[in-house]
């Protein structure tokens, strides 16, 4: 028997819309983001996909996404390990300042290292797997960078594209 995880990225937030770097910092879902998540909720309902357990990062945009998907009806566990990568001094600042956006390959020391991000996600997945039984399905609401990096690492698929929001993988 297998355990199934549905990894969902949160809906669009104010900082996403204004192209502000949003890693460890947080902003609320905007109206479009709420509608996007409602569409994800409807998708799961139409496909009769049922979640036995629900997990989310501790950041409010992920919790809000989970609460909409589960129609505010499921208790859920918040895990600090599911949080987005920390972008250090770039947090809350304009995206065009990020080094990779202007051909700068330097890594700022205040940014969380990619290996650490993947390691955190692996720990979170272990904890989630321990929390569900064989044959069960869990909803996991998280963030684009960490989820994509984990999927690339776990499935040995370096070309896995970034997650637009909210996209689900299972």
């Amino acid at each position: 028997m297998t355990k199934t995880l549905y990894l969902v990225r949160h809906g669009q937030t104010y900082f996403n819309y204004y192209h502000k770097v949003q890693g460890r910092c947080d902003s609320p879902l905007n109206e479009k983001g709420i509608r996007q998540v409602e569409m994800a909720r409807d998708y799961f309902q139409n496909k009769h996909i049922h979640f036995d357990k629900a997990f989310s990062s501790t950041q409010e945009r992920a919790c809000d996404t989970l609460e909409i998907i589960t129609d505010h009806k499921m208790p859920y566990t918040r895990l600090k390990d599911l949080r987005e990568k920390c972008y250090g001094i770039f947090e809350g600042r304009d995206e065009f300042l990020l080094p990779w956006n202007y051909g700068n390959s330097n890594v700022d020391p205040t940014m969380e290292k990619n290996e650490d991000v993947v390691a955190r996600m692996r720990r979170a997945v272990v904890e989630i797997m321990d929390g569900i039984d064989d044959g069960e399905a869990a909803l996991v609401c998280g963030h684009g960078d960490i989820l994509a990096r984990y999927v690339r690492d776990a499935t040995d698929n370096p070309n896995f594209p970034a997650l637009p929001m909210p996209q689900l993988l299972s």
């Binding site: 104010y14 460890r24 910092c25 947080d26 902003s27 950041q59 920390c86 809350g92």
Partner: protein
């Protein structure tokens, strides 16, 4: 019936330190912020104040603060009503821009009356479940808690909250009265170089 409500403001966050408006957006507690909250936690322990119930806003800086004060074993409820005021287009921006709200973007900012009304709804939810003699921890935010105290708890002269400062309110189940503020973290400092 007497219920003791301890309204605590979260510790210093990155955006606080960088002098950026932080309302509906959120950023992590800094090392100083954590130390400030630990001082507040120690104050409660030294004065024999144990909490029967705990609540915080849904924002992570509040839940992180609560978990430090009440410990990892305490069960708590997160309430959206206790969130900070939404500063609209000023969110995350330098506080020096704030005076320009009279000219630009005031319609994007949450109205003060709405803030007070939702805080009252949140506090009423808390009071509804509270029992006589209980100590209740409520971790929230400076502006929204400040409005509630000034407009609904008779604290018209309430000066405001520093990071990790708390206000004690007492209630008979219906009316809420502001008693005092205490700032155990007033002299807490951190060495920028060693981090201690």
């Amino acid at each position: 019936m007497t219920i003791n409500l301890y309204l605590v403001r979260h510790g210093q966050t990155l955006f606080n330190k960088e002098h950026r408006m932080q309302g509906s957006c959120d950023s992590a507690l800094t090392p100083l912020g954590v130390k400030q909250i630990e001082a507040t936690r120690d104050y409660f322990a030294q004065n024999g104040i144990a909490f029967d119930r705990a609540y915080c806003s849904t924002q992570e800086r509040a839940s992180d603060t609560l978990e430090i004060i009440a410990g990892p074993e305490m069960k708590y409820d997160r309430l959206k009503e206790l969130k900070e005021k939404d500063y609209g287009i000023y969110e995350g921006r330098n506080i020096l821009l704030w005076p320009f709200r009279r000219l630009v973007g005031s319609s994007t900012i949450e109205d003060d009356r709405e803030v007070t009304e939702r805080m009252e709804r949140g506090m009423n939810l808390i009071l509804r479940d509270a029992q006589d003699g209980e100590n209740i921890l409520v971790v929230g935010h400076g502006d929204s808690m400040g409005h509630y105290i000034r407009e609904r708890a008779g604290g018209n002269k309430f000066p405001g909250f520093h990071n990790a400062e708390f206000a004690l309110l007492q209630s008979d189940g219906n009316e809420v009265e502001y008693e005092e503020n205490v700032w155990p973290a007033k002299d807490v400092r951190i060495d920028q170089i060693t981090g201690n």
